[in-house]
């Protein structure tokens, strides 16, 4: 009768809803599966089987919702990273020394599991520590990895796993070389070089043109001095609605601003300095006295108006700023 | 030198003032004053050791351990009382305060009377458990006094206890005649917690157990409070401030009739009890008359040739050689003696910042030690790490005063002019040579440049002609 257990185990290994099997068998079975295709795609049944105690292996299970109709952007962004991680882990650990099974449970396959776990959000990464064996953890409860700040890279997850799997092999993440990218970049590079060589005589005057450089530098200065970097770093909204359904272009508070706001301010600075430039350079070169005085009045007026408007806006930002110019008192 | 003088003065003061190092005012709390006759020998013994006794009963109004916030007594003996409560002046809180104020307490129980609740909660705070309903009797069917308790088996006979561990001095039964036995009559056994402040003096024999005499004897096995070695008959607790507390399970152990009683084991010959000497030592230890350590002085200095050897400087430099010396004395009954570390034990010095960088044995320094004090010293090289370090001696042993001495010094980095000069380092010679070469080359070039006549001038002159 010594063929019976083998037969039974073979039966079980076929992965129909299996009776209670020893943790060893379960690990081997899932490991063979993951060797075939990793991460193992789970269903309700074998999720329960995989996470059932006692277990002497670790199970890292990603509960995700890839289907488009759930609209889980983060899930879809993270999935390739997860696949990459599991692939490189299994490739690096064919023998299964780390005794880690990486698996994925999609919401469409494991609705009940999500319900039972009371998960509102996806994706969630659970790490089920072993309950028996040398690395047995105190509690069978899974450790949860939260995707607090955006999609994580495979390396980050790898670091997290390695932290929780001490003194076990941690196969490093191997990113496949992106041949397409390389070829593309090389082609582009050579293309640009040739284009540059060909177009050099035409481009040269543009590069050497002082006006171009003046424009570039002025524009960038205006951008920076109007708090463009603040927007970049803080990622402030472009505009935001005030309470009454309208749009408020100017954020309240001295330390805050909107994207639109900075552009308006930059434009005002631009007008002001251009008026100053015109008054300094252009106007004296107008030969006709009438035209000149008209220009003077026009630019001077523009300058004055714009400055008073700027002051009024600054009063909005900084309550109690005492100074103002007509007409925007 | 000054430290030595002050130490001698201290010694004199100690001799004239009291026999105990912490004072000689002893409060004896009895159920009623008449009972003191039973303990006359013991109390007389205490008086003869220079303690001034004042006998009180728990009920008396005048009884109070504190007067104007100061200790009114230095030591307290509590004899068992019939009363369920000890009254307002002896609550667990007050007793703990008394210990906190360096007072010492000798507490005796007896199986005859239930322990008052105040004492039970006090013991609970010290992590000492008594049998459940505050009454328990320790019996032993093998080591009992066949003379007085032939059938109750509740007078235990024990040999004088040896040292608790091999590295601890035996101060309770040293020099006891081998044949003498301690009689422990009608006592209560306590179970000690695992705290390191607790240590048992006298343990029950392996065959002893504690049970509740009011219940049927067959109920013993069901809820056995404790048995064998776990059953501590005389236990001590030394608080961190070295205030001492002793729990004696059997008050009768101190009674005259057991001091000079003849006891005989079954099959043994009648021998005299060891009780009187034992009581003397237990009370002596509790009242800080033996096993008291004192740090006389601590000195550390730079131990390098040519360096100033000023004592206890505030700051050292990394990799300095320093010497640390600590002087210890032990008080035994009447005088301060040089403290000698037990042979299996070691007195250690830690040099630590956040964690010890060095842990070194302190060796006896014969030169600096006298009959009254022993100087232990250790010399070592400071670690290669600057910071604020502590010389730390942390010597805490059962039955000995806790010693925790911490001297803070700063260890500074190398100053800019304490490194070896470049020309001393052989590895730097190539570079120095390189510098020299560059300088000479530059000078040569300059010279060449300045003293070579300009050629252009001549050519032109030729052309012009």
């Amino acid at each position: 009768m010594r063929w019976l257990p083998a037969f039974v185990s073979a039966l079980c290994a076929t992965g129909t809803l299996a009776a209670k099997k020893s943790t060893e068998q379960r690990f081997n079975e899932f490991h063979t599966k993951s060797l075939a295709s990793t991460p193992v795609k789970l269903l309700d049944a074998n999720y329960r089987e995989l996470t059932s105690t006692p277990r002497d292996y670790t199970a890292a299970i990603l509960l995700t919702a890839l289907d488009a109709r759930f609209g889980c952007q983060l899930c879809r962004e993270f999935q390739p990273e997860w696949d990459l991680l599991s692939k490189s882990w299994i490739k690096g650990d064919k023998a299964g020394e780390s005794r880690l099974v990486l698996a994925t449970l999609d919401f469409s396959d494991g609705r009940e599991i999500f319900m039972s776990l009371g998960l509102q959000t996806a994706p969630v990464l659970f790490l089920f520590p072993p309950t028996t064996g040398p690395h047995a953890a105190a509690s069978p409860e899974p450790i949860r990895y939260d995707f607090v700040n955006g999609p994580q890279s495979a390396e980050q997850i790898h670091a997290w796993l390695s932290r929780h799997l001490p003194d076990r092999p941690h196969p490093p993440v191997k990113r496949p070389i992106n041949w397409i990218k390389w070829i593309f970049t090389t082609v582009m590079l050579s293309g640009t070089v040739t284009a540059a060589v060909v177009a050099w005589p035409y481009v040269l005057p543009i590069i050497q043109n002082r006006n171009v450089w003046a424009a570039i530098s002025l524009i960038s200065i205006l951008l920076f001095t109007s708090g463009h970097m603040f927007n970049r770093i803080r990622g402030v909204p472009y505009v935001s609605g005030d309470g009454r359904g309208g749009i408020s272009y100017f954020a309240s508070g001295f330390q805050n601003q909107y994207g639109m706001e900075t552009q308006i301010v930059a434009a005002m600075y631009g007008v002001l300095s251009f008026a100053a430039i015109a008054l300094t350079i252009k106007v004296p070169r107008i030969a006709d006295p009438k035209a000149q005085s008209v220009a003077v009045l026009a630019w001077g007026g523009a300058l004055f108006l714009m400055y008073s408007f700027l002051l009024s806006i600054f009063r909005v930002k900084n309550a109690g700023y005492p100074f103002a110019l007509p007409p925007f008192m | 030198m000054r430290s030595l003088v002050s130490f001698v003065l201290l010694l004199l003061v100690a001799v004239v003032s009291a026999i105990s190092t912490t004072g000689n005012r002893l409060l004896v709390v009895l159920d009623d004053v008449a009972e003191k006759e039973g303990y006359s020998k013991f109390l007389g013994d205490l008086e003869s050791r220079g303690l001034t006794l004042s006998i009180e009963t728990p009920k008396s109004e005048s009884l109070s351990l504190f007067h104007l916030g100061e200790r009114a007594y230095d030591h307290v003996i509590l004899f068992p009382t019939k009363a369920k409560g000890l009254g307002p002046s002896l609550t667990a809180n007050i007793l703990l305060q008394f210990l906190g104020a360096n007072g010492n307490i000798l507490l005796t129980l007896s199986s005859g009377s239930a322990t008052p609740s105040a004492l039970v909660s006090l013991l609970a705070e010290l992590d000492i458990q008594l049998p459940a309903d505050r009454t328990g009797l320790v019996v032993d069917h093998f080591n009992y006094d066949s003379a007085s308790a032939p059938d109750t088996h509740d007078v235990l006979l024990l040999p004088p206890p040896g040292p608790l561990r091999s590295d601890i001095k035996d101060i309770f039964s040293a020099g006891a005649p081998a044949d003498q036995l301690i009689a422990f009559p009608h006592g209560v056994g306590a179970a000690l917690g695992a705290g390191e402040l607790l240590s048992p003096i006298l343990r029950a024999p392996r065959t002893a157990y504690s049970y509740n005499p009011k219940e049927q004897s067959e109920a013993v096995v069901d809820d056995l409070f404790a048995a064998g070695e776990q059953l501590s008959l005389v236990s001590t607790f030394q608080a961190r401030n070295s205030a001492r507390f002793t729990l004696v399970g059997a008050a009768e152990l101190f009674q005259d009739k057991w001091f000079d009683a003849e006891v005989k084991k079954t099959g043994g010959k009648a021998v005299k009890t060891f009780n009187q000497e034992f009581a003397k030592r237990v009370s002596g230890w509790t009242f800080q008359e033996i096993g008291v350590l004192r740090v006389n002085w601590i000195e550390h200095h730079l131990n390098e040739v040519g360096a100033s050897n000023e004592s206890n400087p505030k700051i050292y430099r990394i990799k300095n050689d320093v010497t640390y010396t600590i002087s210890l004395s032990e008080w035994s009954w009447t005088a301060w003696n040089a403290f000698s570390v037990p042979k299996n034990d070691a007195l250690q010095l830690e040099f630590s910042m956040l964690s010890p960088f060095h842990r070194l044995p302190l060796r006896l320094n014969a030169k600096q030690s006298t009959a009254e004090q022993a100087a232990y010293t250790s010399s070592f090289k400071l670690p290669d790490q600057h910071g604020i370090f502590n010389f730390k001696v942390n010597y805490k042993r059962p039955f000995l005063t806790n010693i925790e001495e911490k001297n803070t010094v700063s260890v500074r980095h190398m100053a800019h002019d304490e490194w070896p000069r470049s020309f001393v380092i052989s590895g730097a010679w190539p570079w120095i040579a390189g510098i020299g070469a560059t300088v000479t080359g530059w000078l040569a070039f300059c010279a060449l440049w300045m003293y070579s006549a300009p050629v252009g001038g001549k050519k032109e002159s030729k052309k012009t002609q």
Binding site: R210, F254, G300 | -
Partner: protein
């Protein structure tokens, strides 16, 4: 007024010598004005006896008298000169108008307001260091091991600070002593920054004069530099900080560089190198120069403007300057090992190569050979770049230091170095801050840069480059507004002066002759120049246009002066240690909790009691309370700070061993809930958590301090981790005893606190200041009877201990 007097006055302004003298007087006046405008804070704060911004300057009526006297004097002179100069000549008009008014306006009544967000505390350390220097001499200072900070690590202070500031004031102190002028070192420290601001104005004058022939530009630049709030913010009396002298050194080094570059003179190059060395000794911001000068050189090379002048100036500066900078122990070998110094080195090598090629080209006239050579040059440059990259990746060269790198990759600090991101000065700048700090200059600035393009000489290229990078850095970090201000002043001065020069020209052109010859000039100036300058200059006809523009300009300048005065009085001259607030009835209310608490520490704790607090308060505790601290504002050891963060953010049972290990005696927390003081520790708490999480990611988790809905709350909804954290307990301990039951209210977080407040067992309240802003707790010793603190506290509260048998099932047996 009549025409002849006008002639007379104008002629008075004509003579060259007179004008120079006048200009000198005006310059000194501007410097005086700049200094004086920074002393208001001192004078004003004397009644509060709070001193100026930081160092308290005890008020003696005599000194106050003389200060305000000096003030009125300068104001009077300035006003007088203005009155005269309005008629004299255009240069003078533009020069004196503003400073005089700055004085007269500045004397207006002021009010101060809470400056909560940036506790400027470095001066406390600098002052302490200076005292040490003066007391123990230079070599002791050089080898100073400070064992009262960073307990128990200590700090090798002599080797980890920029000694320039302390040495400067020490030198001044000894010089005055040598002149038998007995002066307290503290007064020197308080007045150093204003004094140097005067020099800065002068340096700005020199730098601008290098840029433009117009005589008035320099003086205008000096005025702007003197009163621009962006610079006043760091140079008011008592802001005894590195920047106080560093900005002067920055501007002056730039002036010397330009001078050396224009003349190609080695002498000026040497001077530049020397001042660069001084700068390195004074401020970590020297890296700005180290990168800007090579960049300028590189741009010039790319513009094909390589010249021997450039070669001489740059090589002199680099060789000597690098040697000088390496003399500072804190800098040491960084100039040859770290990336931020590599551009300078690379350009140095590249210049050698170019010089060589230049020589070869002059020797060998073959065309192909030249092209080959140029390719060769480019190739070497590329190779050098590649080598740099390789060396960096291989680790021979240290990568960018985090603080510096975070300027380029702005997201970097937030992820990797929270300790840097947590500093309020390192936040990006919103546009109101720009306008607040340099009001009209902000739009004169681009105009000036544009004018620099008119005739693009080497120095103008420098201005353009400086302007671009300065504005970028200032946009990324509030603090670097300081490095932007000089170039803004210079550029704005250029544009303003040329504007005024144009419109204050007394003689008008007559309309006849111009139409004839303009087209001829049109051909002459063309291609290379700016399009706008293709036509010839005619001049301004008619008084109307002149009058309008001049008048408008005057209005703007006056507005600017008033703005500066207002900003200075409001924002930059109220001490951050003493908070002044307004009562409903308008009277001023002084909140002096900090000094109260520090005084308490000084008087009620042991000399060597270790105080644990968040690092923001380290210098203050060291300076005012004179007690050892665990961490302070010199954040050199991130792990140690993280340890404090962990102790603050974990449960008592976890924190207590940490505090015991570090021998902490007292814990100090800042709590603004009662007063609505927003700069308190609960608001900084997340940074503590983050920094601790960086080191112990498994023990401290930021997420656990947020409610499931991702909010940061302190009321009943707060998470258990939050409620059990030591910081929370210390902040709200006994707080609800101030309110009727259930009414406890946190006025900063605007939230109602739970009914029962937290309870403490391992530490006990020692002190709470008047407005509860500062709370100090004493760390308990181990329990005398070997119990854990919780049960001991329970017993003291009267609860009897449970029976041991019930407490833990089977009793563990004694083994000994």
């Amino acid at each position: 007024m009549s025409a002849d007097t006008l002639q007379v006055l104008a002629s008075a302004g004509k003579g060259e010598s007179t004008r120079t003298i006048l200009r000198f007087i005006i310059l000194s006046l501007i410097a005086g004005a700049a200094i004086a405008s920074r002393l208001f804070s001192v004078i004003r704060k004397c009644p509060l006896s709070a001193g100026s911004q930081l160092l308290s300057w005890q008020s003696r009526p005599s000194r106050r008298g003389q200060l305000s006297g000096l003030l009125r004097l300068s104001a009077f002179w300035a006003a007088l000169l203005t009155a005269a100069s309005f008629q004299v000549s255009r240069a003078l008009f533009t020069n004196v108008g503003s400073p005089s008014l700055s004085q007269s306006c500045a004397r207006a009544e002021r009010q101060s307001r809470m400056v909560a967000d940036n506790p400027l505390v470095d001066p406390w350390f600098n002052f302490r260091a200076t005292k040490y220097l003066v007391a123990n001499g230079f070599y002791k200072f050089w080898d100073w091991f400070d064992d009262r900070t960073w307990h128990p690590l200590g700090r090798v202070t002599g080797g980890t600070l920029y000694p320039g500031l302390m040495v400067t004031s020490g030198a001044i102190y000894h010089a005055l002593r040598a002149l038998t002028i007995p002066v307290d070192i503290r007064n020197i420290c308080v007045l150093l920054a204003p004094a140097f601001s005067g020099l800065t104005a002068f340096a700005a004058y020199l730098l601008t004069n290098e840029m433009t022939p117009s005589p008035s530009a320099g003086l205008l630049a000096a005025i702007f530099m003197g009163i621009a709030p962006g610079y006043i913010s760091r140079s008011v009396a008592g802001s005894y900080d590195n920047e106080a002298i560093a900005i002067f050194l920055l501007v002056f080094t730039f002036f010397l560089w330009i001078r050396a570059l224009k003349q190609g003179s080695m002498l000026w190059g040497v001077l530049c190198a020397l001042f660069y060395g001084y700068m390195v000794a004074s401020w970590g911001g020297y890296a700005f120069i180290t990168c800007l000068l090579p960049l300028h050189a590189f741009v010039l090379i790319c513009m094909g403007r390589y010249s021997t002048r450039l070669y001489v100036a740059y090589t002199t500066w680099y060789a000597l300057g690098t040697l000088a900078s390496m003399q500072i122990p804190f800098v040491g070998f960084l100039p040859v090992k770290t990336s931020e110094h590599m551009p300078a080195l690379g350009i140095f090598g590249f210049l050698q190569l170019l010089a060589f090629l230049d020589y070869v080209r002059s020797a060998i006239p073959s065309r192909q050979f030249q092209t080959f050579l140029w390719l060769f040059a480019g190739g070497t440059f590329g190779l050098g770049l590649a080598a740099l990259v390789v060396a960096t990746s291989a680790g021979f060269i240290a990568p960018w230091s985090g603080r510096f790198y975070s300027l380029w990759d702005t997201g970097y600090a937030k992820i990797h170095i929270p300790i840097i991101a947590s500093v309020s000065e390192h936040q990006p700048t919103a546009w109101p801050a720009f306008f607040f700090d340099l009001n009209m200059l902000i739009w004169l600035f681009p105009a000036g840069v544009y004018l620099c393009f008119q005739n693009l000489a080497d120095e103008h290229v420098f201005i353009v480059v400086y302007a671009l990078f300065g504005s970028y850095f200032a946009g990324v970090m509030v603090r670097l507004m300081l490095t932007l201000t000089p170039v803004v002043c210079v550029a704005a001065a250029i544009s303003a002066s040329s504007l005024l020069d144009t419109y204050l020209n007394v003689k008008s052109p007559n309309a006849e002759e111009h139409p004839a010859d303009d087209n001829t000039d049109g051909k002459k100036s063309g291609k290379t120049g700016l399009k706008s300058t293709s036509k010839p200059v005619v001049g301004i006809y008619g008084w109307l246009s002149k009058g309008t523009v001049a008048g408008a300009m005057t209005v703007y300048l006056l507005l600017f002066v008033m703005h500066c005065t207002w900003v200075t009085s409001n924002a930059y001259s109220s001490p951050s240690v003493v908070l002044a607030s307004r009562m409903p009835d308008g009277s001023q209310h002084i909140i002096d909790d900090y000094r109260e608490a520090y005084q308490w520490l000084r008087q009620n704790t042991k000399e060597d009691a270790k105080i644990m607090s968040w690092w923001d308060y380290g210098y203050q505790i060291g300076g005012m309370a004179d007690r050892p601290t665990l961490v302070d504002n010199n954040t050199w050891n991130n792990t140690h700070i993280a340890t404090v963060g962990k102790a603050m953010s974990s449960r008592e049972e976890v924190s207590y061993p940490i505090m015991r290990q570090h021998e902490v005696d007292y814990v100090l927390v800042v709590f603004g809930g009662l007063l609505g003081y927003s700069g308190d520790d609960i608001n900084k708490f997340l940074w503590m958590v983050r920094i601790a999480e960086g080191i112990w990611p498994d023990e401290v988790k930021e997420r656990e301090f947020f409610t499931p809905r991702g909010e940061y709350r302190v009321d009943g909804e707060a998470t258990e981790t939050m409620k059990n954290s030591l910081m929370y307990k210390m902040s709200y301990y006994n707080y609800n005893s101030l309110f009727p039951p259930g009414q406890a209210q946190d006025r900063v977080r605007q939230s109602r606190l739970p009914e029962v407040g937290p309870s403490l067992s391992t530490i006990e309240e020692a002190f709470t200041s008047e407005n509860w802003i500062i709370r100090i707790y004493k760390v308990k010793d181990l329990d005398n009877f070997g119990r854990d603190h919780a049960s001991a506290a329970a017993f003291d509260r009267g609860l009897k201990k449970k029976k041991a048998a019930k407490k833990r099932g089977p009793r563990q047996l004694r083994v000994d």
